[in-house]
């Protein structure tokens, strides 16, 4: 390790002892190869074992280590100290979520929203085995592939100003995932997802800021998913006047 050091400020909060979150300052050795996650591990191992944060894969796949680094929602595992050195780095938990402890946020509300949009293929198993496998062309795959890359890291929820203003908003990732299954040629669940996606707290709550797509570490474009659903919703809306019962009776 070199003699160079780096200052890291971390928003600390222990619900059992603290009234409100405050910043704690740590001075750590500067190692060029370290990610923010490595730095947090060093702090937990060597300086303060009470520090709480989530992590798992260390390779931008699991989506556990989302945090706000110098004001920008990022994954700790793919954010490197060398991009900030010698300036101090400020680390906060994801915005727009309740803090459970330090950098750990309470994601229960997100999980509930995720479940509500039914992010799985509906009716795919209805087809009898004798009819063979479900075939999908590369073109059909291409329709939804980018939206399937979401790792539920919730960076887009931290970035979205609407989440802070209207906590009932379904949010970018959940809409993008609902859209992913709606676009899947094997799926038959469009109607079941409509209420969540097209409702007042669905796509229509979005104020088209677009920061969600900018912060996404997997290059998913949730803003595009929302706009495509607004277009679809507008068409459904117009058609609902022409065919009030969808031509059923």
């Amino acid at each position: 390790m070199s003699d160079k050091t780096l200052t890291i400020e971390i928003l600390r909060y222990n619900p059992e002892t603290d009234d409100k979150p405050t910043f704690g300052t740590f001075t750590i050795p500067y190692v060029e190869a370290w990610s923010m996650l490595d730095a947090l591990e060093h702090i937990k191992d060597e300086l303060d074992s009470s520090l709480a944060y989530r992590w798992s894969c260390r390779m931008a796949v699991c989506g556990s280590c989302g945090m706000v680094i110098n004001g920008t929602p990022k994954l700790g595992c793919e954010t490197f100290l060398r991009d900030y050195y010698p300036n101090p780095i400020r680390v906060e938990p994801l915005a727009n979520f309740p803090i459970e402890k330090d950098l750990v946020i309470d994601s229960e509300d997100f999980i509930k929203k995720l479940e509500s949009v039914k992010p799985y293929i509906i009716n795919a198993m209805e087809k009898p085995v004798e009819e063979g496998v479900n075939k999908q062309t590369p073109q059909q795959l291409g329709l939804y592939k980018q939206f399937s890359m979401c790792i539920n890291c919730m960076l887009c929820y931290s970035a979205c100003p609407q989440m802070g203003l209207n906590p009932l908003f379904t949010g970018p990732a959940v809409i993008a995932l609902g859209h992913r299954y709606n676009l899947d040629s094997r799926d038959d669940g469009y109607e079941q997802r409509t209420e969540v996606i097209q409702g007042k707290n669905g796509v229509w709550s979005c104020t088209f800021v677009g920061y969600c797509s900018e912060v996404c570490p997997k290059n998913v474009d949730p803003a595009a998913a929302i706009n495509q659903n607004k277009l679809q919703g507008s068409q459904d809306w117009a058609l609902s006047f022409l065919m009030p019962r969808k031509g059923d009776k």
Binding site: L165, E195, W204, W237
Partner: protein
């Protein structure tokens, strides 16, 4: 399905249409009025009242072009301002919403009426 009949899809469609017309027409207008004529790339007589009014107020193609360029962009602007205000922390109630979009409706109808009459 429960929220199917709320008005937001209509307002958003008008916003989308306006965004498209703004993207198409306004760069050209900014170029002609803001750069072309002041820098004398385009002769100033090109924008003379007689010439402009002969096209935009006398010919049907001109009237239609003006209507398409103006009316949707009103809706795009008010929709952006209304939702932008919300993002900036102003949360106007239903009355302000009525005034914003109602005013835009009146402006749109006035534009169409003035061009057609």
């Amino acid at each position: 399905m429960s929220n199917k009949r709320h008005i937001e899809p209509l307002l958003w469609s008008l916003f989308g249409a306006g965004g498209t017309t703004i993207a198409f027409f306004f760069p050209a207008i900014i170029f002609v009025v803001g750069l072309g004529v002041p820098l004398e790339i385009i002769p100033a007589e090109a924008l003379s009242y007689e010439r402009m009014s002969a096209f935009f107020l006398e010919s049907w193609i001109g009237k239609l072009a003006l209507m398409v360029a103006l009316v949707p962009s009103y809706w795009a602007c008010i929709h952006r301002i209304y939702h932008g205000a919300h993002d900036l922390g102003f949360h106007p109630g239903g009355g302000v919403k009525m005034a914003c979009y109602g005013g835009t409706l009146i402006l749109s109808l006035a534009t169409i009426a003035l061009l057609l009459v």
